[in-house]
Each structure stands twice: as structure tokens, then as C-alpha cells.
Amino acid sequence: MYGIGILKGLMVTAKNLVRKPVTIQYPEERVPQASRFRGQEFVWYVDRCTGCASCAKFCPLGIIRIETDPNGGNEQDGGTYRVDVFDIDQGRCMYCGMCVEACPYDALHMGSNFEAAQYRRQDLVINVEVLKAREKHPSTWYRPQLEREKFDPFEGESKEWQDAGREKPFWHPQRPEMLPDEGDTRPTADGEYK
Amino acid sequence: MTTAVSGSDLAEVLGQRLFHSVTNSDAGAAWVTPEALLDVCRFLHDDRAQAYDLLSSVTAVDYVEFFDVVYHLTSIARNAATVLKVRLYGRDAPTVASVTSVWAGADLQEREIYDLLGVTFTGHPNLKRMLTWEGFQGHPLRRDYLEPPLPYTWPHGG
């Protein structure tokens, strides 16, 4: 009463006057992002992708367009589907991450960028070439394996496709460089367990 | 924990007081006739043993052959909840009495249903379109609603 409450309020603002302001001067400094940040620059590993289009099916907005071509050779011998078209319309994307969650082979990851502004809407559509060429800095969203190894999408190096998945890839006769690890219990090329 | 009063229990209660008001009931809900709805609601609201004083939610579902108007009732005093439904046949002008005289909270919700599903509530004080604009054609939440092909213009804007 009698203005005491007002004086109390004035004291609170005075206290805040001498505090450090919380403003972050955006272009020069940035808010520290969490490693799970769901952002632009989707990371896509062509070597992991089978072209199953799960991501497209699970996108709530239907903004992923995939066209595949089964002419990579005989599937029995390891010939895979070739992904001809992989368009993600970032202009309509809401970065919910359903596509990443749906991907059964950990081929698609969220990125961490948030600044991909363009002058035209069609420039926001990223296509397969862009996705292939991009630096691979996957966000750890829905990727517990990256989180376990404390992968930092902002500082860390570009991630190879072999290391991005939840499991080591199968050894394959057409890819002899991928020898199974010691103690790996998965079948070898002959279909036998080690 | 809120007691969920099953539809059959509710039907039993209603059957004792308001004859022929209940058409059907199952574990989830009790269906009453459109004519009896207002009496049923008044009874459920006023009766000491029922005391459904809070109308949680009113909504409607379009089952193509008929509409179900769904009332979720809650009794704060008894901490009980139940579901009441009214089945309206016909797609042209499904009509049911408004319960705004019993629960004022039905006001905006009934307007929304009228707007989006085209169920008319007789006795509603201000039954106008709410989410869409005046002059909007059709009721968008009906299963057979089709957006007019582009480009289209509406009488008022858009």
C-alpha cells in the first residue's frame, strides 16, 4: 500500500539494470544448439539408402519425392536400387523428423543448420545431387549410436556412412574393403557364422 | 480417479426416469433420441444423483449414413464422467436441440459443429458460422466434402 509495491517493483528493475543482458547478438554470436537439434541440411548417405521411400511415406506433409530405378544389376548379387530423384522441399518442411525416425537403415539424418534462406521458393527444394555432395554432419536426433559416441554435429568431422548406422554394415562380396570386425557374429559372405 | 460411467449404466438410469429416450447403449456410450435429448440433459444436469455439471466436450462424427453428436459429460461433485450420443439420420438437415440452455459451455462448441459438420442446433442463441466465414459453402469436416477446384472465389473474400 501507499506505493510500497511500486517501490518494490522499481527495485527489481534496478537490480536487472546492473545484471548482464541476456541478448545474443545473432549474426556474430549464436545460441548454443543441442546436438539433437532438428534442422536443415539433411544428411543422406547414398550407400545406406535402399530407396525404400519410408521417409516419403512417413512425412506428414508429403514433401519428399523419391524415384528409384532397379538397374544397379542383379539384386541377388547385391545390386541395389539406384535413387534417381530425392527431393526434399525444405520450404514446406516442418522439421518434425518423422522421416529420420522412419528410415530403417539410418540413411537419412537431420541436419543442424537453420539459415538456409533463399530468394525463391524453388531454390529451397534440395535434390539428390545436393544431398550427395553435402558435408555429413548428422544431428543426433533419433540416432542413439551417435549420441553414445558423443558425436558433435557442430564441431565434429564429416561422418562416413559406415559409422553412421546403428549397426556395422554387412560385409559384401562386391565391397571387399568392408571386412567384418573381430568378434562380429553376423554371417560372412559364405553365409556362415565366424 | 474419475469414475467412467458406462453407457449401459447411463441407459439404465435414463430408462427409469425418461422412458423410451434411450435407443441403444454399449460400454462406451448411451444413445438417446433427438427428441428426448434436452430432457435427458436437463435431468442429468439437475438431478442430485447425476449432477453432470460440466459439459466437457460436444462434438459430432459423420458416419456417412448418419451423424453422431457426442456429449462428454463430467460431474465435478461426483468425479464421474460419461458419454451421451445422439444419432441423426439424413445428410440434408440433421437437426437436434441445442443444450445451451442447460450448459452455457455448449455455445461455441455447437457453433463449431454447425460450421464444420452442418448439424443444426435448434434453440441456439447465435448459430452462425464460426471458424469459416459467412458465405462459405459446404461443411468441411463432412466425409464427402470436396474443396472447389482452383481457382475459385467465395462470396466473401478468399
Binding site: M1, Y2, G3, T13, V22 | -
Partner: protein
Amino acid sequence: MSPLKDNSIFSWTYELVADTLGGPEWLAYGLGALAVIMVVVNGFLLIGTIFTWMERKVVGRFQSRVGPNRVGPFGILQAVADAVKLLFQEDIVPRRADRLLFNAAPIVMLAPSLLALAVIPFGAGSYVADLNIGVLYVVAMSGIASLAVLIAGYASGNKLALLGSMRAVAMLLSYEIPLVMALLGITILAGSMSMVDIIAAQSVPFVLVSPLGALIFLIAMSAELNRPPFDVTEAESELVAGYLTEYSGMKFGVFYLAEFSNVVLAGALFAILFLDGWEWAILPSHLWFLIKVFGFLFVASWVRATLPRMRIDQILTFAWKYLFPLSLVNVLALAVETIAWPDPSGLQLWIMVAINWAIAAAAIPLLSLVVHLGEPARAGRRIPLSEEVF
């Protein structure tokens, strides 16, 4: 009554034209006067502009923000950037506006505050005119600003603007009276309405001698200036921008500048009437004056950053039921004291200080009790601490 002759800027220009260049005397007199006006008006508007920047900066800091900091060092050129932006903005006159009045309003707003400058002494010997009715003149001029608000609101042809300007007029009518009463107390004390005489009379600053007067002056002035908590005329959350709603471009800029200049003017008035004007030790008089004015401005920003807005009926009730009786008490006390000691010596002045502070300390709570000020509209605040349910 001819202080121009003593003015250094005037005499320098006069001598330059009349003696060095050999021009006619009327020209030298005219140019000399013009030079004084140029310096005073532009200096004043510059301070007003600096205050627009300062307030944003200070309020920003009060709110844990940084405030403008991009244009120039510490963002000090922000006001310039805003002015440039406003200059390039499209000048819109609404179709339903009264064109003539709509265009006239900003000028009516800015002109009186510049006119009032004439009697403000900015430092020892630095004033345009020493009117013997200086205080009355300033009050008369500051009243015109509210007329401009009314014109702007009416001419905009906008309901929100009209509401805002109606509020402004209601507030002006109510707060002019306590304001004048507060100044009356000063006049009684100083025995003169001339600004220079008032400063000379303050061997003890009047803020100490007449604390009630200072308080009433501050409150009434913030109402006159539409500053929080009395900013109902602009009331951003209610009336969008009040009477400014339809203004854009430089017309808006003039309004904005006038508003802030008026605050600077109020600060100058407060410094003169209550803080002993330019006088104090060590520093040059102009600097002291500036420091006092900016102290006032800082407090104004502080209040703005803290207080919510009052409702218009509460504002009027406050003025009539509380501030007006309080100002009567103030005038009465000062008048009685002046009769007792017509020409108070140093000690007598200090006794007056003690008496007046005691009166203030008694009158404020007593009056609050009588008019139930600050008490809630309902009895007590009985929010029970929570309880377990079910």
C-alpha cells in the same frame, strides 16, 4: 527585460555584423537573435533526440536487453537512422481524415515546447528571455500540446485515435490543476514567477523545502506528458498507438520528437524549479544543468520500464480525489510558512524543510486512508494457500 544584450552568442553575432562587417543595426540585431534561436532550438531538439536513444537504451537494460547498438558506437546514431527511415516512409493521409487538421497537428504539438524554451535558463546567463511570468508562460505553453493530441485524434478519422485523444483531454483538464497548484507553492516560496529569480531564491533546493510540491509536480507532469503510468492516450496494448495510429513518415517523426522533447522540457523545469537550476559547485553551470535534466530523464525511463498503466477513470479519480487535496495542503503549508517568515534566513529555511517533510509524511498516508487509495476494489487479498483436493 532585455537579456539578449547579455547573451554571448548574441553579442558575438551582433558585433560581427554591425562592427566588423559594417551592416545596419536592425540586420545585426535580427541575425543575432536568429543565432540565439538556432542554438537554443537545435540544441534542445538534439537533447530530445539523444533522449529517444537514451530511453531505448536504458529501458533495454532494465529489461535485460542490450537496446539499440548497431548504428554507430553504442547505437547512438539510432535516432538518425530512424529519422532517415521516417523521411523515406510513405506519407499517408487516410481518406476519412480531416486533411488540414491532420497535417497541422504535428506542428501544433512541437511548436509550444519550442516556444516554452524561451524562458528556460540553461545555465548562468544563458536564456532567451527572463519573463516575469515565466512559470505561467511555461504552463500555458505545455497545455497546448494536449490540444495537438486532440486535433490529431479527431482529424485521423479513426475510432482508436479519437478514444486516445479524448482520454488526453480528460487527463489534461484534471492534471493541469494540481500541476499549477504545485507551481503556485514554488511561486509563493520564491516570491516571483521569473525562472531566474526562482533559481536565485533556492539557497536550499525546493525539492527539500517543498517535497509534496515536487511529488505532485512529478506525477502531474508525467500525466501531462503521457508517460507511464498515465500513458493511456497511446496505450499500445489497448489503442494500438492512440492518436498516433494513422500517422506515418515524418509527421509521426515530429510527434515522436515533440513528445520526447516535452519530457526534456519537463526535466529542465524540474531542475529549475526544484533542483536549484544550474547552481552547484565545481562544474560549469551548463553541465550541471544537463546532469540534473538527464537525472530526471533517467528516472522517467526507469518508471516507464517498471509501471503498468492505470485506467482512465482511476487516473481521473486519482487527480481529483487525491492529488488536488494534497496540492491544497502543500500550498496552505507553504503560504502559512511564508507569512511566518516572509524572508527566511538559512536556519528558518531548514526548519521549513523539516516541517514540510513532516507534513508530507503525514498527509500522504492520511489522505490515502480517507480516499481509499491503493486499496483493492474488494476486501483484502485472501488467496488461500493451496489445499489438497480429493
